[in-house]
Symmetry: C2
Subunit: 369 residues, 2 copies
């Protein structure tokens, strides 16, 4: 059975790691994109100790409210229409404001005093150059929002925080820090700040400010280029597995699969595994990719290389090193404890975030106690 | 709104194209992997004129039955356990048999005479070297299945049919043709044959046999390397779209997005689009990638290049060539008529099949009349 197993205890463990790293900050746990592919319904109960959750869109925010999340919800792309702004008010949802139309909607329609929508995350473009106002725009927007009764969180987003040495980081931190000081001095000393995503939490512990926004780190992947998930004491929150559905021996010099991409250097025992890109396993992957096969008889784990082209429904693996009794229906771990999804991401020339998010609806979804 | 729009009329048109190409064969329309990401419930009504549907697993077969498909269902990976074999009998589902355990389950538990499970698709490994018996294995299995009352369809799968000139094609066709003749001569003249997937239908019209098995061609993508979807008169069955959520001008020599991957050669008008790898748009994509933006005022289409790194929730596009009144919330087509998903697949160093299958559950799903 193609299976995605979510591990709530790992999520809670990782959240606690974040709290240890950023002990004086509130935590906005990022659950956008269906909780990085883990399933928002599956992860929310494990993240109860977060101070709030972050989503990309109002649609995701409304889903989280419907699932019973009654604390802060922050929408990082903000609302797309005035109608969405009004819906946000109804559900007590806090929004990022990153451009003039959103500012105008907020000024035209002010939520009740006790509404969480009164808290606005004002986006400052410090170098990512996607969303946000420039410094002057932030100051003007902050003045108007403050005068209208809004509480403000100044926020920005790192472009290269995974690489601590990248020179843009210091520049973004400096711009953010200076503008926050300006706002606090000239408008309201109580204006808050939020700078750090997962990578920022790890790499810039002197700049955590009031709210940190952990994402990938909650799911157990390393957010920085120079430390592994293990070194950061993170636990993978997902196991992605399938099963052996056929066994055969491929003769030397025989090619297998589409494009005859791999040819057996010698007679090779292979297993077919019921997983493919139709489930979300990446089609373009190099020859370092491997899986773990669990021998049902002795519960031993074996590392088996992926051979040839990943197809829609199947991959072929090398089981030459498995004992004689490799069984049909043996469990095969695509990623989880071993291999870690971060390893497979390297084999696929991408990052774990993408592998986790691009899972299809075909695999069965379960969770551990 | 992130939206996947399915076009039933395009599916029916493409099915009719297949019927024109293979007028004397029955059609097993492949709907595995959630109908190549299109959604099985959305496509089945448009494929009513197919003689049967093909799925990867029993789970998918049972879903199709539950959705009301009452004709042939073929399971190309076959069943994984004896319990699944018994479930297949209960639901009149036909299975591929590709290894000895499946053969034994079929011999131990013979379905009633009128059951569709009495039709077995016997898999011959002619060169793909994934699933199937060798020639001797096929003959022995065919003898036993025939004696037990099964009707047989000999089947195999091309490894390189997309490339007509690949020498393995002729070898696979020869092996298949010879063994089918042997079976028909020595066991039963009424044994059927099924050789061609989409690429085989296009490239090997002399070898269509009794059943063809179109997959990607139904969804409007080109299955061969030397003809485009347009040249084959196919219509894309999916439009994948999003919207502009912010506009800004990036100054010359300013980098945007993660990794500061793209730097503006001159002052550049950009738009943020609410789509990313969290929806299934590929993260690793080259600089040829583009989208179509629809100007709401004049309904004109504009080709806009994708700039910098694809993020989880957003991409940035170049709207310098758009008229002054580029509007927030303008519709952006990621793939559909233009660009065709086949073009974006080339930009992502993969095939359309993968892009279609690896869509996440986040986008809203609708269909045209």
């Amino acid at each position: 059975m193609r299976t995605i197993t979510i591990k709530p205890k790992a999520l809670t463990h990782n959240l606690n790691q974040v709290k240890k790293m950023a002990p004086t900050s509130k935590v906005l746990a990022m659950v956008k994109s269906n909780a990085y592919g883990h399933g928002i319904a599956a992860v929310l109960p494990a993240l109860q100790q977060a101070d709030g959750i972050g989503v990309a869109t109002l649609t995701e925010a409304l889903e989280a409210r419907q699932l019973g999340w009654d604390k802060t919800i922050g929408v990082v792309e903000g609302v797309f229409t005035v109608g969405e702004w009004q819906a946000a008010i109804k559900q007590d949802i806090s929004c990022v404001i990153h451009h003039a139309p959103q500012l105008q909607w907020a000024l035209d329609d002010i939520p009740p005093a006790q509404s969480a929508t009164r808290i606005v995350w004002l986006k400052y473009n410090t170098g990512m150059n996607r969303l946000g106002f420039d410094a002057d725009g932030v100051i003007k927007a902050a003045e108007r929002l403050h005068a209208a009764g809004y509480q403000l969180v100044l926020t920005t987003h790192f472009a290269n925080a995974d690489d601590k040495e990248n020179s843009l980081n210091a520049l973004q931190i400096q711009r953010f820090s200076e503008l926050l000081t300006t706002l606090q001095t000239t408008i309201d000393a109580d204006i808050k700040g939020s700078l750090c995503n997962s990578a920022g939490i790890v790499n810039f512990s002197d700049h955590h400010y009031d709210w940190v926004r952990p994402g990938i780190i909650l799911y157990g992947s390393a957010p920085v280029i120079d430390k592994s998930a293990d070194e950061l004491n993170l636990q993978p929150a997902m196991e992605f597995s399938a099963q052996v559905i056929a066994l055969q021996t491929v003769s030397a010099n025989t090619a297998i699969g589409y494009g005859s991409l791999w040819s057996a250097p010698q007679d090779t025992k292979t297993a077919l595994v019921s997983i493919g890109y139709g489930d979300g396993y990446p089609r373009v992957i190099n020859s370092d990719a491997y899986v773990t096969v669990i021998n049902e008889t002795n519960q031993q784990s074996y590392r088996c290389t992926v051979l040839g082209r990943v197809a829609m429904d199947m991959i072929v693996i090398d089981v030459s090193d498995m004992p004689e009794d490799t069984a049909l229906n043996s469990k095969v771990i695509l990623w989880g404890d071993v291999p870690h999804v971060d390893e497979i991401a390297v084999c696929a020339d991408t990052i774990s975030y993408e592998l986790l998010c691009r899972l299809s609806i075909r695999p069965n979804r379960v969770q551990t106690q």
